[in-house]
């Protein structure tokens, strides 16, 4: 069954069956084979900085409680009471030593231990093993440069290996100066589309900017670097399904706001020194970490998760971020650029929704569904670039990233375990 579904992706020829965007059985398979096995983004360090801080989120459709316990360690648990399965914590965030279920009052400490059961002695006759009934933890939790990720799969490779060469590219968003970044605003909303459309779009659809977003470029919200025929734009795939759009090292993707421009000029040289020689070759502006975590630095600065909510629905959780040490007026400008560019009201973002909605909904027709998605742009014109540690398309537009994104999707759908799929690093490719 999994092999049959994996075969719906013909990455070699750039043809993707549209069944994978609409059929409930395939969606269930994605939840099991991809979301229950991959490293998924939870939150940023700055959202839970102090002992007792917590946030609720999702991994796939599983509700998750992320907590920094009294000792400062970060844990992630199913946000589900071990008694009747009620959702334990109903708030988005806060600070807690313990969580008490609203149904019968079972109490869990912020490290997951079950510490309180009403009428324990009389009603259970001493026959309830509290120690085995703590909150169910995820299999692994790790952070990379302040970004917390988790996986439900104990056999998943370590996060650093999963990210592979993508790690350096993530640095260019969140590790440009001492202290990294912090989240300064949050947007959450529901889009009527399959989660893969936004994920692949942020990972490599430079092609749509010059048309779909031209109105936002025209009113001066952005320098429109991805629509600029003079930029040296490339599609970059560092492996394992991760994907980026990058422009040239001297192409400017920042929003044309004086506070941001002045700040960027001041820090430019130091940022390049910190990021190393590759920063003299390339400037990443938008990316997707497989499967559903995207980062954006052109026009607006946000990272966001595309949470699957059934085949036809996605919940976006988007976080505007700024360098932690940047001055308040820069943070204010970045927050405004985030709202005005990429948020529900964003002049860029609002024009994406209908496309993704209609790409999803037209899959409902059984005949329309037979028509594959055409991802053939630039087929045979990408190459491995050892300096970039990635497979690269040199022309401004290509669907090479989409092909690698869906190839990874198919590999994971088919694979029985991590042993048969694994992760590559660029160094491994170079030495092979």
């Amino acid at each position: 069954m999994t092999a049959e579904i994996a075969a719906l992706v013909d990455a070699e020829h750039g043809l993707i069956s549209r069944r994978i965007f609409i059929e409930p059985e395939i969606y269930d398979m994605e939840l099991r084979q991809i979301f229950a096995r991959c490293w998924l983004f939870l939150c940023h360090d700055s959202q839970i900085p102090h002992p007792g801080d917590f946030m609720t989120t999702y991994m796939g459709e599983d509700p998750i409680l992320v907590v920094r316990d009294g000792a400062g360690s970060v844990g992630a648990f199913l946000n589900v009471c071990r008694h009747r399965g009620n959702r334990l914590c109903r708030a988005n965030d806060g600070n807690a030593a313990s969580f008490i279920c609203a149904y019968h009052g079972w109490t869990f400490a912020n490290d997951g231990r079950l510490t309180g059961v009403p009428n324990l002695r009389e009603a259970y006759h001493g026959d309830l093993d509290r120690e085995s009934l703590g909150l169910i933890p995820v299999a692994q939790v790790e952070s990379y440069k302040g970004l917390w990720f988790a996986t439900f799969d104990p056999d998943a490779p370590p996060l650093r290996e999963y990210l592979g060469e993508m790690a350096w590219y993530i640095d260019t968003f969140v590790d440009r100066c001492d202290g990294g970044v912090e989240v300064i605003a949050t947007h959450k909303w529901i889009m009527p589309c399959n989660w893969k459309f936004p994920a692949e779009n942020f990972g490599g659809d430079a092609y749509h900017v010059q048309w779909n977003h031209l109105s936002a470029v025209k009113i001066g919200l952005s320098r429109g670097v991805t629509a600029n025929t003079h930029s040296t734009q490339r599609m970059v795939s560092p492996g394992n399904g991760h994907a980026l759009i990058c422009v040239g090292p001297d192409d400017v993707g920042d929003p044309p706001m004086p506070e941001i421009e002045t700040y960027e000029k001041e820090i430019a040289a130091a940022v390049r020194r910190r990021l190393g020689p590759r920063a003299n070759l390339i400037n990443p502006i938008v990316a997707t970490v497989f499967p559903n975590f995207s980062l954006l630095r052109g026009t607006s600065r946000t990272f966001r998760v595309w949470q699957p909510r059934g085949p036809e629905k996605t919940e976006v959780r988007s976080f505007v971020f700024a360098d932690k040490t940047s001055p308040p007026e820069v943070k204010r400008a970045i927050r405004q650029a985030g709202i005005r560019g990429f948020s529900p009201s964003g002049s860029f973002e609002q024009d994406d929704m209908d496309n993704w909605q209609e790409c999803t909904q037209t899959c409902r027709g059984v005949v329309s569904r037979r028509m594959p998605i055409n991802n053939r742009m630039g087929l045979g014109h990408d190459r491995f670039d050892p300096d970039l540690g990635a497979w690269v398309s040199d022309y401004r537009f290509s669907e090479s990233n989409q092909r690698r994104f869906y190839r990874r999707w198919a590999e994971l759908i088919e694979a029985a375990d991590w042993g048969s799929v694994g992760c590559v690093t660029a160094r491994q490719v170079e030495h092979a």
Binding site: H50, P51, G52, D53, G70, C89, R90, A91, N92, D93, G94, N95, A96, A97, S98, F99, I100, A102, N110, A185, T186, H187, K188, W189, I190, M191, P192, W211, N212, L214, S215, A216, K218, I219, G220, L221, E315, R335, Q336, I339, R340, S343, P344, S345, S347, E349, Q350, D351, M353, D354, N355, Q357
Partner: protein, 181 residues
């Protein structure tokens, strides 16, 4: 105490503004704002009140309560006259796809309370709104919230110099905010 005539003129002003929006007369709508307008909207969030027994607070100093909507944490619009004009200019490009074909809206303005007279002879107005949006074939959205406007008279006509709105959702159930409020 404001006289009935002033209150009535404020109400009529707000209703007329709503009609301009529903008739997509956005350039006339822009003329209702002063050049120093700050146009701001936030979503809400979902936090336990301090009295809740659902959690035992670990660090009381870290506790942030339901007043989050006063802050910028969940801002959805943060506009000045220049960016409002740019948003309208975008609609005129013929390429603003979120509004092409256009949304069909109906702005309902209720609970109008002309609260106080400000130093400059202006007024502060509280109201509630329901904005219905129908789009495409069957898409429907209800945007419900509260609004606080500051109005002042310029050449005898009311103009809006400040607008703060709270949209009563945590996770927005609408795919976008491609309309005005």
């Amino acid at each position: 105490m404001l006289d009935a005539e002033t209150i009535r003129s404020v109400e009529q002003f707000l209703y007329r503004e709503a009609r301009l929006l529903d008739e997509r007369r956005f350039h006339e709508w822009l003329d209702l704002f002063t050049d120093d307008i700050h146009y701001w909207m936030t979503a809400r969030t979902n936090r336990y009140p301090r009295s809740s027994k659902a959690i035992a607070i670990f660090d009381a100093d870290r506790y942030t309560d339901e007043n989050a909507e006063a802050a910028d944490e969940f801002g959805l619009f943060d506009e000045d006259i220049g960016t409002l004009r740019a948003r309208v200019a975008r609609l005129d490009t013929g390429m603003a796809w979120a509004e092409d074909p256009p949304s069909r809206t109906r702005h309902l303005i209720t609970n109008v309370e002309v609260a106080s007279e400000t130093q400059d002879g202006g007024v502060t107005v509280h109201c509630n709104f329901i904005v219905y949006r129908s789009r495409g074939e069957t898409d429907q959205d209800f945007y419900v919230g509260a609004r606080q406007d500051r109005l002042r008279r310029i050449d005898g006509e009311w103009r809006i110099s400040g607008r703060r709105m709270v949209l009563d959702q945590n996770v927005l159930t609408s795919k976008n905010l491609s309309i005005f409020f």
